[in-house]
């Protein structure tokens, strides 16, 4: 039986249509980020001071919804997992990069995607943040010979959590749902504690 998805890979859609769809998908992404309040650096950074856990809740809701869809479509044979682009695993670079992204988020007030929503909301600080991103790319490009030696440390290629632990994808899916639900409960409790009872 022929695969039906991803549509752009199974020949249902040409490359030009795929680019137009990229813009439509981006439109939805930006729209929901704004509706969540993520065009606001204050709202975003409140996550890191524990006063507003919206970043955690929205992000993990998004992860769980997409994950359930992906696992279901894979199980039904409609969208095989192997046909999806999957981030390769590089343990050390992803640890260092993750720490830098968390640190830069607090200092800069946005993350790359939300900065475009901030800019679209009229925020000048978001523009400066995006210029900072560009500066970072220039620095990384110029100094890549110095950075590159760490890039292969902990390189494991294309590997998922369920392959790594040798269990079914749905078991890991269930664990992710438990993490999201438990994290949300903790977040709600922490928010109430740090804001008082007026929420």
């Amino acid at each position: 039986m022929n695969l039906i998805a991803p549509l752009a890979k199974s020949g249902f859609l040409g490359p030009d249509v795929n680019l137009a769809i990229a813009a439509l998908i981006g439109f939805g992404f930006g729209f929901f980020l704004e509706r969540a309040g993520f065009g606001s650096a204050k709202k975003l950074t409140a996550q890191w001071f524990g006063t507003d856990w919206s970043v955690f809740r929205v992000m993990f809701t998004g992860i769980v919804v997409a994950m359930i869809g992906i696992l279901a479509l894979d199980s039904l044979g409609i969208l095989p997992f192997d046909s999806l682009y999957l981030n390769d695993t590089f343990l050390l670079p992803q640890t260092i990069g993750g720490l830098m992204m968390g640190g830069g988020f607090v200092i800069g007030g946005y993350c790359p995607g939300t900065a475009f929503v901030g800019l679209a909301s009229g925020k000048w600080d978001a523009l400066l943040y995006i210029l900072g991103l560009c500066l970072g790319v220039v620095v990384a490009g110029e100094l890549w010979d110095l950075i590159e030696p760490i890039m292969s440390i902990g390189s494991m290629g294309r590997v998922t959590l369920f392959e790594f632990f040798g269990v079914s994808s749905w078991l890991i899916g269930a664990v992710v749902i438990v993490i999201a639900v438990a994290g949300t409960r903790f977040a709600n409790w922490f928010e109430q504690r740090s804001r008082g009872k007026n929420v």
């Binding site: 998805a5 991803p6 998908i25 981006g26 939805g28 992404f29 729209f31 929901f32 980020l33 704004e34 969540a36 309040g37 065009g39 650096a41 409140a46 001071f49 524990g50 955690f56 993990f60 998004g62 919804v65 997409a66 869809g69 479509l73 046909s83 999806l84 981030n87 390769d88 343990l91 260092i96 990069g97 720490l99 992204m101 640190g103 830069g104 988020f105 007030g109 993350c111 790359p112 995607g113 475009f116 929503v117 679209a120 909301s121 009229g122 925020k123 978001a126 400066l128 900072g132 560009c134 500066l135 970072g136 790319v137 990384a140 490009g141 890549w144 950075i147 998922t160 994808s169 992710v176």
Partner: protein
Amino acid sequence: MSENAPKAKPYWPNLAAGIGLGLVLLTAYFISGRGLGGSGAVARVTAGVMNIAAPEHVRGLSLFSGYFRQGLFDWTDWLIFQTIGVFLGGFVAAVTAGRFAPGVEKGPQVSRRQRFGYSLLGGAIMGIGARIAKGCTSGQGLSGGATLALGSWVFLLGLFVGGFVTAIFFKRLWQ
């Protein structure tokens, strides 16, 4: 923010916005076989502009070698189109919610100039960090998280640890 608060509509509940984001992400995988990204387009456009200014030099930088196709800089990238969409979607959402308001968002204890400096600095740190992690909050966190990529969950852990720890030292910026 406070002066236009009366006419601005409230934000959506986290659950509603999160479900919307999740469905957009799922659609991206279903149609294009790939997830969302926030930093990839910035990296490519930056490299492209550098390439216009100093083509010989940029060709020698290994970080950008993947942006060339048959010796020419490739601008027809999925993430560039997606990022234009993010801007437009954010704009439409901000305007229709009464939240479009030119201004600067900052903590009460920092000046505008300081805020601009920190924006630039934080952006630069994340610009470098996203190249090292091969993705940002969207590409590694959201997309890699949903596809259960091992390294993306390592990244997510790093992101939250990095954010919470840095916040201890930068309270003055926002509070």
